[in-house]
Amino acid sequence: MTRLATESTVPAPAPPLSDRDADRLRRRYRLRHVAGRVFVYVAAVVAALLSASPFIWSAVTAFKLNSDLYNADNNPFIFNKPPTADHLLYLFQQTDFGTFVWNTLWVGLLVVLITLVLGLPAAYSIARLDRPWSGWMGIAIFFVYLVPPSLLFLSLSRLVVTVGLQDSAWSLVLVYPTITIPVSVWLLIGFLKTLPRDIEEQAMVDGYSRLGAFVRTVLPLLVPGIVAVVVFAFTLTASEFIYALAFISPSSQKTLSTGVPTELIRGDVFFWQSLQAATVLVAVPVAFVFNLFLNRLVAGFTLGAVKG
């Protein structure tokens, strides 16, 4: 930073400009500005296309007739034959897609609930109750987030068998908070740091206990952050693959993440249009909700991560 400060004083003071020079400069800057704007738009469109093209293409494919799709000479990006909704109907009527959606939803919601019940007090304890170990505990929880499922799935799958939850979606409810609690606590610490301490002090002055102050004043103010954490934690559980694959084999208990790739691909027979439809149907709502809370999540990353 200091290096920058000295550097920025280097340019020599500009000599006084004549009117013509000033005009030329102004034009140059305007041109540069326009070029900059064009560049931003081009870059944004390219980025959006690179990211989303597989989904856009999936959405087209989902409505294609077999005779259209399985012809290598047909243009894959347009309808060469009239579109059909048969494969979409197949997805809902002939496969367990509905079951997978339902399992993903209830597992996700329960996991989010457990995460909040355990994570909120933990975050408050670390961020606000100023124990000598607070800092270390924050770091420890951060490290737990880095212990990956690929290291734990074998022992956890034995553990799941021991408690009798193998082949049940409840095993995921038990295990998924190991992924969501650390990251949620970490984000919540960040959000808590944005609330001025006066809030609880004031509430305690007004006669609340520390616990009362937390429940009655801090929690309501934390709601925006909590919502962001809910969205984030839910996305994490919905994407999880290794545990879901290792713990569960009957299709009635599978979630979207494992159900769609394993049940809609039978041996060498792929239900391509239905698979593509499933991807788009899941992708769009999740990304939509996520986008609503993106700014808050970005703030959480800065506060929790960057300012420790």
Partner: protein, 317 residues
């Protein structure tokens, strides 16, 4: 502040409550007790389901546990010897390093570019952000299944484009050739994780005080100069964190590999995580699976220490 006015009567109230309210008032007011009570459930849960399984994994790797015979018998380093004797293990280790190294480099560069785009002001930003987020928010297994078809051996639309542009004849067989399969796995992974890296880096970019950038602009620094001499040095720690996160998520991940190639063709895309899964769960050799998975740990530890140091440095600035 208001509480200086309110505090004299409150002091008295607190005293009486302490006398009359008895125990309940004390526990809910005592910060050290509350701190532990609040933290304990999470700590117990994490010890039970992260720490215990972790040590269990070490124990398994030193045993002869299989899915068929789950009784625990000490077997020393037999499982490790079994793992090392298999050339696929070394192949996987090498693949993991390649996969992680290349993906991470690409994710950082593209994530930085994407973050810069996302913080810029333009119309339709909401739609662009929505489209850009799709790869990351969609469950990995689902988006990877889409890619499976994009990379299909006969009907791949990418092949169709290349054919019509006159670049190739016939098909590329993306997932059928060792080098191309690895490139495909890396490409899908980069595509998926770049938005996450961008979001983390956005956080860093937004935290750079605007006046520093303004000052540089006033002093005549152009866009590139501001980028390389102001923004990047100032956000380097955040870029580091994003990179290390990406690295950890990459070298411990098996989803993309498992769905796209299952490690094939002939294990040329096998990574440690997928190999541990194939041995430990599908092959039922729990001991060997655990031994393979434990190889992730030293790398993980190194990455964690690096992250911590980056975070520390950020606290100082």
């Amino acid at each position: 502040m208001a509480h200086t006015i309110a505090s004299p009567p409150r002091a008295g109230a607190a005293d009486t409550s302490r006398v009359k309210g008895g125990r309940r008032g004390r526990v809910t007011d005592s910060e050290s007790a509350l701190a532990w009570i609040f933290l304990l459930p999470s700590v117990v849960y994490i010890i039970a389901l992260v720490a215990v399984p972790f040590f269990l994994a070490i124990a398994f790797s030193l045993s002869d546990v299989t899915a068929g015979d789950p009784s625990y018998d000490w077997a020393g380093l037999a499982a490790f010897r079994r793992a090392f004797a298999d050339p696929v293990f070394w192949r996987s280790l090498w693949n993991t390093l390649i996969f992680t190294g290349i993906s991470m480099a690409l994710i950082i560069v593209l994530g930085k570019v994407l973050a810069n785009i996302l913080v810029a002001d333009f119309r339709g930003k909401w739609v662009v952000r929505f489209l850009v987020l799709l790869p990351w928010t969609t469950p990995v297994a689902l988006s990877t299944v889409s890619w499976l078809w994009l990379l299909d051996s006969i009907y791949s639309p990418i092949d169709w484009l290349l054919r019509n542009a006159g670049v190739i004849q016939g098909n590329m067989y993306w997932l059928g050739q060792p080098k191309l399969a690895m490139a495909s796995v890396i490409a899908v992974h980069v595509w998926r994780l770049t938005p996450l890296a961008a979001v983390i880096m956005m956080a860093g970019l937004l935290a750079v005080p605007q006046d520093i950038n303004e000052a540089a602009r006033v002093d005549g620094a152009g866009f590139w100069r501001r980028m390389f001499e102001v923004t990047i040095p100032l956000t380097l720690p955040v870029i580091g964190v994003a990179g290390l996160f990406g690295a950890i998520l990459t070298f411990t991940d098996m989803t993309v590999v498992y769905v796209l190639t299952r490690g094939g063709p002939t294990n040329s895309t096998q990574v440690l995580a997928s190999w541990a899964f194939i041995r430990g769960i599908e092959g039922g050799d729990v001991a060997q699976g655990a031994a393979i998975a434990l190889f992730l740990f030293p790398l993980l530890l190194a990455a964690a220490v690096l992250i911590l140091r980056a975070v520390r440095r950020m606290e100082i600035t």
